[in-house]
Symmetry: C2
Subunit: 280 residues, 2 copies
Amino acid sequence: MITKGTKICIVGLGLLGGSYAQKLSLLGFNVSAVDKNMESIEYALKMHYIQNGSNDPSLVKDADLVIFGLYPMALVKWLKENQHYLKKGCICTDVTGIKQMLIEKIKPFLRLDINFIFAHPMCGKEFSGVENSDPRIFKDANFIIIKNDNIVAMQTIEQLANILGFAQVSYLNAQKHDEMIAFLSQLTHVIAVCLMNCKDDEDLKKYTGDSFRDLTRIAKINENLWYELFVENKDLLLKQMDEFMLTLNDFRVSLANEDETKIKSLFRQATKRRREFDNR
Amino acid sequence: MITKGTKICIVGLGLLGGSYAQKLSLLGFNVSAVDKNMESIEYALKMHYIQNGSNDPSLVKDADLVIFGLYPMALVKWLKENQHYLKKGCICTDVTGIKQMLIEKIKPFLRLDINFIFAHPMCGKEFSGVENSDPRIFKDANFIIIKNDNIVAMQTIEQLANILGFAQVSYLNAQKHDEMIAFLSQLTHVIAVCLMNCKDDEDLKKYTGDSFRDLTRIAKINENLWYELFVENKDLLLKQMDEFMLTLNDFRVSLANEDETKIKSLFRQATKRRREFDNR
């Protein structure tokens, strides 16, 4: 249970870590932060997102709840080097967008007296860094918790998601999470990036309508984070890309043949499925 | 020049024809309409979108400016059957999303005493019909006029676009228009439809984030209109689909090889190009 006495430490003050800190401090919780970049710490102190901060990882030693706002590989490295600072019995969680590879890498060396609940807050922004943090991104967003057998710790992270204001909390296993993410999030980023890269025509800008803008908004992409997310989930993402390319190719054949019945039935199916997304 | 004395007739009271009527009537112009569906006429009369309406095409005979809100093939058919009703010297325009095929079909039989300026208001909505008309869709939207040598008539249609409140008027030839539309509008609709069709998983709804929603909003598609638009622009659309699939496949190869340098440079290029779209 998170209470006003719970000591919360955020490791990695980026967009998400910063947004967590900001919201939790606003609600009166005790929040500290560790970041290797002292400018981020100073900014968060100045803005009252945190009460205490340092670039020294030993600051985590008093925390009951540690939230890692690090990129996947940085999180593995941090834990390898610094997990001895963590308080016995503390609850840890993360914010990373891929889970199977991450958990496989962490599990073998993670201290057994640490309760690590992997989680994925499904929200973000096209700008990174603590200066862009904004707890409004949690509203309407899904929060996914990776199932394990530590019920009490999972409940604590569900409580955290509710405190932060997420719209819905779901439980998934790591494999299903990564499959879902490969399709819903990673494939869409690949498509947006490819749409921007496949044509170099200065005139396009002038004639762009809403549809092209909507499909490419996420082409403004954080290269370091997303390269890591793609590579760590490579097999599943390649599979989703292949399925999508097959579907696209089927459509191409139907169009080339002017197969009216087929194309109209694909239109109807897409319309019906997409309308259901509006009524969740 | 359009003045308060100009008699305007709209043929085809759908979403766009209805929105034109609504805005022009609001501004005090004299607007009549022809539609084969009397319910649309009655609705538009009741809502004061038009002052006069009929399912009889001869109603166009007094109009100085005729705006066709018909689908491409319906427009060709209407003109073949009814162009004898049009007033000598009147100016005509349309709203259809493809131009080359349309102009090729109309030009051979169009009366020489009619000034037809083909145009494409780049706006729309996921719902059709006069009941959904809404002139707010013109705000921030591009309006494209297909160049010809009838300067006075082109200026009149540019004036119409300004009266309706479009953000920007551009002139293009039909070939360039259709290429642009194949990429910016038609390819994006194909992608959205294929994204919705390539996976049937009830769970997806629960875990969808903003990116997937953004990329599939236009998958709710008017099957009759878009089938016609795709088929009438088939060659150019197939070409754009092929270019996109090549780009996607190149990305696939880079990801399979974990080619960090290549992928990050593609990310940077996409980000840079997309940011320029924000600053038009």
